[in-house]
């Protein structure tokens, strides 16, 4: 994840409290989703940014996962996301995301 964004995630989590924060990702494939999800839960796996060694344990989902998708207004989702959803490998993304959540999410 972008180093500047890591800093924003860290600062906002401190400001609002980790139990109140949910991260939503829009990455294009499973591996990138997994790396971003790991960054906001276990810490930056690339050891490059402000979240290196910082385990925030945040709740994190990809926007196309069923658990969050069912909470969106279906019209908004259709208009904003469904076109891209068709070209993404959602099963692969969901599998990565679920594995990270089971291992590292604390809330």
């Amino acid at each position: 994840m972008d180093l500047e964004n890591q800093k924003r995630v860290k600062d906002l989590t401190e400001e609002y409290g980790p139990e109140n924060v949910v991260v939503l990702l829009g990455a294009a494939e499973g591996e990138a989703s997994g790396i971003a999800a790991e960054t906001v839960t276990a810490g930056d796996p690339t050891y490059a940014g402000p979240l290196t060694g910082v385990s925030l344990g945040l709740v994190v989902y990809h926007v196309c996962e069923d658990e969050v998708k069912e909470e969106f207004d279906p019209d908004v989702y259709d208009e904003q996301v469904s076109m891209m959803e068709m070209v993404l490998d959602i099963d692969e993304i969901a599998e990565e995301m679920q594995a990270i959540r089971e291992e590292y999410t604390k809330y």
Binding site: R8, V63, Y77, M84
Partner: protein
Amino acid sequence: MSILDGKKVIVIGDRDGIPGPAIALCAESAGAEVIFSATECFV
């Protein structure tokens, strides 16, 4: 239990996937407050 309703949401979109503003609109439609939205680019 709702995942998003009443929560503070951080959006990390992707230029090659789903961009930040699109995710932010979805999150707001679920009753969440978007506190940060970015669109990353891996190129």
